[in-house]
């Protein structure tokens, strides 16, 4: 089943000026995308790239300034209610009522969708099991850890059995272990056929979860494709990372450029990246040039390298 679940053409979001002295701010500057049913789709980019604004428009809580947007075949401008009834939303800030219990948070949310108390109870039991929170059901939300809260937010977003699940920075602020637990849950949802759309500024997250993604920067889409396609197109197979002693990097870069390897060299504040087909061969070449890096690491190219190649900047500063 490969039908379109959401589609945008020339989508723009401009916010009015906050006060008389400031100018209107264009967060999303004319983007096109098509989301297929059943896929996991990612909006990747640094903070301020326009990812969250895009998500808010898809979620029908923020009307587009220009362009066309269709979600579930409907127009958000006229059918916001009907679309939102079929969406699941996981906001970045969890947005749980911390004074209510875990189960009460699901009850309230289920009621917003007009579900009967009995149906909510039934689904809440299943969802708490899915979110590994069954033994926390009666606890107040403010007693939960960050990872538990995020899992509860995901459980809550599933109460209406959504066709499309929107996740805004789902693992930001979580420790590595909590992230892996969350990825596992999201992967299960994907296996069950739920369409996932997520924003992230973590490359590993995008690589783990997304079938397809777009890279956003400054309100525009700068590249799109599967993680493997993007890496193949915008980076080399391997990357050699070299760290030098303080003050020695500039001289090393100079030497490498003069050697004319034909490979792309990127300078980061703490290390240099050598994009090459064969990392070990490149390291041998560096040694042959008389370079003495403090550490040397050969790795596969990642989406981080794609972003760096496209924008000249790293994702997480």
């Amino acid at each position: 089943m490969s039908d379109v679940i959401a589609q945008a053409t020339g989508l723009v979001k401009t916010y009015p000026p906050r006060d008389k002295r400031s100018a209107p701010f264009t967060a999303v500057d004319g983007i096109d995308f098509t989301l297929q049913r059943g896929e996991a789709f990612g909006f990747l980019g640094p903070n301020g790239a326009g990812k969250s604004s895009t998500m808010r428009m898809i979620a029908c809580v923020s009307p587009p300034t220009a362009g066309t947007l269709r979600v579930l075949g409907l127009d958000p401008a006229t059918d916001g209610r009907r679309i939102r009834a079929r969406l699941g939303v996981v906001p970045q800030d969890d947005a749980l009522d911390s004074e209510l219990s875990v189960r009460e948070n699901l009850l309230i949310y289920g009621r917003y969708f007009g579900l009967s108390t009995r149906l909510i109870d039934e689904r809440a039991t299943q969802l708490l099991d899915f979110a590994q929170l069954t033994d926390k059901a009666a606890e107040r939300v403010d007693a939960l850890s960050g990872g538990m809260r995020r899992r509860l937010t995901i459980a809550r977003s599933l109460i209406n059995e959504p066709e499309l699940l929107l996740l805004d920075e789902p693992t930001t602020g979580l420790d590595p272990q909590a992230r892996h637990v969350l990825w596992d849950r999201l992967f299960r949802l994907k296996q069950q056929g739920v369409t996932l759309v997520l924003t992230t500024h973590y490359m590993d997250e995008a690589e783990q979860l997304c079938d397809r993604l777009v890279v956003m920067d400054g309100g525009k889409i700068v590249a799109q494709g599967s993680p493997a396609e993007l890496i193949a197109k915008h980076a080399t197979r391997e990357v050699l990372e070299l760290r030098f002693g303080i003050g020695e990097q500039a001289a090393a870069v100079e030497k490498l450029r003069q050697a004319r390897t034909g490979d792309r060299i990127e300078e980061l504040p703490d290390r240099l990246l050598w994009y090459t087909a064969e990392g070990d061969a490149a390291l041998a070449a560096a040694h042959a040039l008389g370079l003495t890096p403090v550490t040397a690491l050969v790795r596969r190219a990642s989406l981080e390298d794609v972003f760096l190649a496209l924008t000249g900047r790293t994702l997480v500063d």
């Binding site: 309230i108 917003y112 969708f113």
Partner: protein, 262 residues
């Protein structure tokens, strides 16, 4: 800008949330909204009233308690209207709180406004009913029309709640709310004829006071309770307060949409 049609059923969903949330928080507000006005009624009305002596001419020939109680009813209702709107609205509209959550479901901003406004009205009514019960137990009512002081007090509270909600939903944080209570609520409370007859003020000030909404609420509640209400007076006060509530509602409807679905 498209504004979706309001749905009463959706509004009730948010109203039910308000009660569930209140069940966790009632201890914090019951003192200020119900107990406080009653303590004032007893301490000022009965206590200070005994010192003032009865049948002072400026009070219209009634005891100080009878003069003060319906004024306090209106003032307490105003305060409840503000307490029910200013803090909760500015709090719940923040990222991660109840408003943004509700408007990401089938609820529209206008439904959230309706549900919350209904909750405010019910809370104002409960406070006013408790106050009326005690006031009538003191034997203050001089006319069967006194029962109308209850809806009059609810209207007074609601006439404040709506414009304040319209304002509070635009606030980036709750700090301006403190300012509102210091610089608007307190002066109105003191100078709108609650504690003393405004005829004791200089004439220029009297005209100014007669423009304030609380003065209309106080006059309406007082004349109904003491049996001195006139058709013209009561209709003017009611029209003024209704207009204020309506204007507040219309602005709130626009502001809720702008700020919750930006």
């Amino acid at each position: 800008m498209t504004t979706a049609t309001a749905s009463p059923g959706m509004a009730l969903r948010f109203y039910r949330y308000c009660w569930l949330h209140y069940r966790r928080n009632w201890k914090g507000t019951i003192v200020i909204s119900v107990a406080n006005p009653l303590l004032f009624l007893v301490a000022i009305g009965a206590g200070l009233g005994a010192v003032v002596g009865s049948h002072v001419e400026a009070l219209g020939g009634v005891s100080y308690l009878a003069f003060f109680a319906p004024g306090m009813l209106a003032a307490a209702s105003m305060q409840n209207g503000m307490i029910e709107s200013a803090f909760p609205v500015s709090y719940q509209r923040m990222p991660g709180r109840a408003y943004p959550v509700a408007v990401s479901t089938p609820l529209e901003p206008v439904d959230v406004l309706h549900g919350h406004a209904l909750f405010m009205a019910v809370k104002i009514a409960i406070g006013a009913a408790a106050f009326c019960a005690v006031m009538f137990a003191f034997g203050v009512a001089a006319s069967p029309l006194a029962v109308l002081a209850l809806p009059a007090a609810v209207l007074t509270g609601f006439a404040f709640a709506m414009p304040v909600a319209a304002w509070a939903v635009t606030l980036p944080d709750v700090r301006p709310v403190q300012t509102l209570f210091k610089w608007v609520v307190m002066p109105l409370y003191l100078f709108s004829g609650t504690f003393f007859a405004t005829t004791q003020l200089p004439e220029a000030v009297q005209h100014l006071v007669a423009l304030t909404p609380l003065w209309h609420g106080v006059e309406l509640c007082r004349t109904l309770t003491l049996g001195t209400a006139t058709w013209a007076g009561s209709l003017t006060h009611t029209a003024y307060l209704t207009a204020l509530a309506l204007v507040g509602y219309v602005v709130a409807r626009r502001n809720y949409h702008r700020h919750l679905h930006p």
